[in-house]
């Protein structure tokens, strides 16, 4: 079975500082990895994905994520945080190797709080 772990329930960062939201995964085949953001009372918005190729992927709103196969991690990063980045962030994984097909498995989410 595939799974995703987001070890931090909340991350606090000062505006202008770099941010990292951690994600590790477990799959039996090649992973397809995704990050989503959820603002209050809104649905999920897609940020970025890793399918294959360059381990560093860039996405919306200046976010990027680094795929590390040896550490089975896919941490979300941004060089300079904004107060408007404050939201709930979800990591997700899909692996065809497990027979999961189109099923996306989500982590428990990390609340990012960016303060002035």
């Amino acid at each position: 079975a595939q799974s995703v772990a987001q070890p931090e329930d909340q991350v606090n960062v000062a505006e202008g500082n770099p941010l990292t939201v951690k994600c590790t995964y477990s799959v039996s085949g090649n992973p397809y990895l995704f990050w989503y953001v959820q603002y209050p009372n809104r649905g999920l918005q897609f940020l970025l994905k890793y399918i294959t190729g360059d381990n560093l992927v860039k996405g919306s709103y200046g976010f990027e994520a680094e795929f590390n196969k040896s550490q089975t991690s896919f941490h979300l990063k941004k060089p300079s945080a904004l107060v408007s980045d404050s939201a709930l962030y979800f990591c997700a994984v899909r692996s065809l190797g497990t027979g999961g097909g189109n099923k996306l498995t989500f982590g428990t989410g990390t609340q990012l709080k960016v303060e002035l």
């Binding site: 397809y32 995704f34 989503y36 009372n41 809104r42 649905g43 999920l44 918005q45 897609f46 994905k49 399918i51 979800f90 899909r94 065809l96 097909g101 189109n102 099923k103 996306l104 989500f106 982590g107 428990t108 989410g109």
Partner: protein
Amino acid sequence: SAVISQKPSRDICQRGTSLTIQCQVDSQVTMMFWYRQQPGQSLTLIATANQGSEATYESGFVIDKFPISRPNLTFSTLTVSNMSPEDSSIYLCSILGGAGSNTGELFFGEGSRLTVL
């Protein structure tokens, strides 16, 4: 990306009643997915709805409790039947991007926030 509209956006329901959530997409899609997000928790897939066939339910979810319709390639409904307070959640409709490939990301509607009293 496609525009996904859900109705109602929120509702307060009485225990024992049923509510149907509608999901309309502005383009034709083969598969539509229904997720549940319980308060303070992650998303859990309820079922996959394909046009012209019965929905495929995930473990822990049954058709009697969550009947799904998929009458055409742009529309689906999810009914939450005989509701209890434990059904208070956000219900999210989603579709697969990337031309429906397995590498595609999911796009979500805004969600339907149900509170059961």
